[in-house]
Symmetry: C2
Subunit: 394 residues, 2 copies
């Protein structure tokens, strides 16, 4: 094969100071005013309910938004991969939790090196484990450094993905972990019920977290009896964090999506126990074709993830209400949603259409840049072009 | 916001010459032997049926695979965006067709510049249009160059996305286009029935293409009568190309997925009119957690697109047959598919699991590198680390 490793220079989709009109399409745009309001509401919630806020950075994948959250009172950030943690550390974050299992020796050496780096800067690295083999592999990799790593035992409270089953198995695993001190420091339990976040009714979400909390409470009682009380229980997402916070079990919450909010979370019934959040993440697109009953814009599922459903259209004043249909990698098909009254049924060739992605996290992952605007989607200006440093699977 | 445009250095997931075992996970791996066999079969088909082969590069997004196809007899490549065309041109390709509508002035200036560049190198650029506004905008942008651009009128033969309706409207549009000569050169019709590619039975796919061909034949008769006969009709994909080739209408076919083949195309009933294609694209992943009834590997929908369904598992000898369930951005959940006989029900912690992505094109878009291996997934070696130059929406 004739292949080189060279890449092309990154194309800047907008310049700082330009109006929103000048942003090339398709582009991922963050409404900074809305994101800031979301963040302030979440920070106030955490303070009022006396829980630590450790937002999940797998959502925004950017050091700039990590710092915005730290400045608002977050104690640190979660990441889901080693690479995300490395990227945030390169971007200046010092207190990171890899809320996932890592078992490859090559990756665990990176974990150990990162623990060393963060310790040297006065910060710390934490990671999850869910089996003896994971503890053994991690301990092996940590032998080359004198830095310690905080370790949370992941407990499966209903998601059915990673995590040890609640009950006696947790006690056994914590005992194995505690025996690895001081290089592995038992930091507590990680318990995230991902399957509960998008249950549509408040009652369903609360019931799912209540079931998980019951298992977790019984597990904590076993740990207390074994004199292995967890220093901290961490978990929770944007759909349920008020219930974890109210349980008296979780001392730290990990929501991610609240900052940008997506169309799928907007489909959840509003929980009065949680503050309201606004859409702050949009794909700016342009109409490239108009037919008799539909129009086509230039943003497809290469611009917005569709794992949690397609995007919705965010109409600006004067624009017709539109439904969306999957048009492939590079296009979304727009059809009239309802009678628009005196509005035209469809946008015209060249018009701007703002899409609200179905799911923030994988949408951000599709883009190299977030265009951060201040002053709204109509009259705003570009305040920053934010690199998505932790993008990809590297 | 405190944000810089700097990016992190790319992490290489494998080195040329290393064994397949050494490839870090998750990684996108191409079996070069299988890809080569697919390409040879397609090239032979095109030659035997006397159609030009212009593979769609939105599938692999790489200059290296573009050159592999050109060396096998392809007349050029299709792209779906200006950026993809720019990337392939930067990688040395000289004959490109942007099979999509482009209407933003900023992008059309790039189109004009690219037409100029390719002309200067002895190549050519083509693009699609589907309305008078599109022709007007393109002509405007071409005023700054003396290079001509080939223009295909896109006809909607059933996909319901872009394209002018078959019949008299095509004649009107071709007339408008022909009046813009010589800077806009009427090159023919672009007619792609994307909706037909994944109809499961051969009969359904053939019927869908037959319906489109009927409309196209009538449209061509109108054009012939108006002395606007199309120099070429181009279109077709991996699911149906034999029918377009047999119709006597299409002189050029644009399949993309045949080179790598995905799980969704494998769900199509095999068409005896087409050569067989093998899976050549895989995600290498690793088991990071094992529970009572399932295991979890480290490749989620950030590693493989799920717009056309989840991945399937490609078991190597000795591995249990497994079903997959969506485990989120960074994980896939593996469950026993059936009794594995004497095999274990689940893989063990640390085991390698090879996934076959549901859909090639957006899967490749998630990755910065394709790891090209020779000699198979068990004993093969890395022959090249191929940059996905045309990745993203830049």
């Amino acid at each position: 094969m004739n292949a080189s490793l060279e890449s092309l220079p990154e194309r800047v989709r907008a310049l700082v100071g330009q109006g929103v009109d000048a942003i090339d399409t398709p582009a991922l745009v963050v409404d900074l005013d809305a994101a800031n309001r979301n963040l302030q509401r979440m920070a106030e919630f955490a303070e009022r309910h006396n829980v630590r806020l450790r937002p999940h950075a797998k959502m925004h994948k950017s050091a700039a938004f990590a710092h915005m959250q730290l400045q608002a009172g977050a104690v640190g950030l979660c990441t889901q991969t080693v690479a995300e943690a490395e990227a945030l550390a390169a971007g200046g974050a010092n207190d990171l939790f890899i809320s996932n299992q890592v078992v490859a020796p090559a990756k665990l050496h990176r974990v150990a090196a990162l623990a060393h780096l963060l310790k040297g800067r006065g910060g710390r690295l934490a990671i999850a484990v869910d089996c003896e083999g994971g503890i053994e592999r991690l301990a092996q990799a940590m032998r080359l450094t004198n830095a310690a790593i905080d370790v949370f035992v992941e407990v499966d409270i209903g998601q059915g993905r990673c995590g040890v089953a609640p009950g006696a198995a947790v006690v056994d695993l914590v005992r194995t972990l505690a025996a690895r001190a001081p290089s592995l420091r038992y930091a507590g339990l990680h318990a995230y019920q991902g399957g509960a976040q998008h249950l549509r009714s408040v009652a369903e979400r609360r019931a799912a977290i209540d079931r998980g909390a019951e298992q977790l409470r019984a597990t904590r009682a076993l740990l207390d009896a074994a004199e292995l009380a967890p220093p901290l229980i961490t978990g929770a997402g944007t759909g349920t964090f008020a219930h974890e916070a109210a349980s008296g079990l979780w001392g730290e919450i990990q929501p991610g999506s609240f900052l940008f909010m997506d169309a799928d979370y907007a489909r959840n019934q509003r929980d009065p126990a949680q503050p309201p959040f606004e859409h702050a993440l949009f794909v700016k697109s342009q109409v490239i074709s108009v037919a008799a009953g539909h129009a086509v814009c230039d943003a497809g599922h290469k611009s917005h993830a569709i794992d949690s459903g397609g995007p919705t259209v965010h109409p600006l004043p004067g624009q017709p209400p539109l439904a969306t249909r999957n048009g492939g990698d590079e296009a979304t098909i727009l059809t009239p949603l309802e009678s628009g009254g005196e509005l035209p049924a469809l946008p015209a060739l060249g018009d701007t259409v703002w899409l609200i992605p179905g799911h923030c996290d994988p949408t951000v992952n599709l883009h190299n840049q977030l265009i951060a605007v201040r002053g709204g989607l109509q009259d705003g200006r570009v305040e920053a072009v934010v690199p998505v440093l932790a993008r990809g699977v590297w």
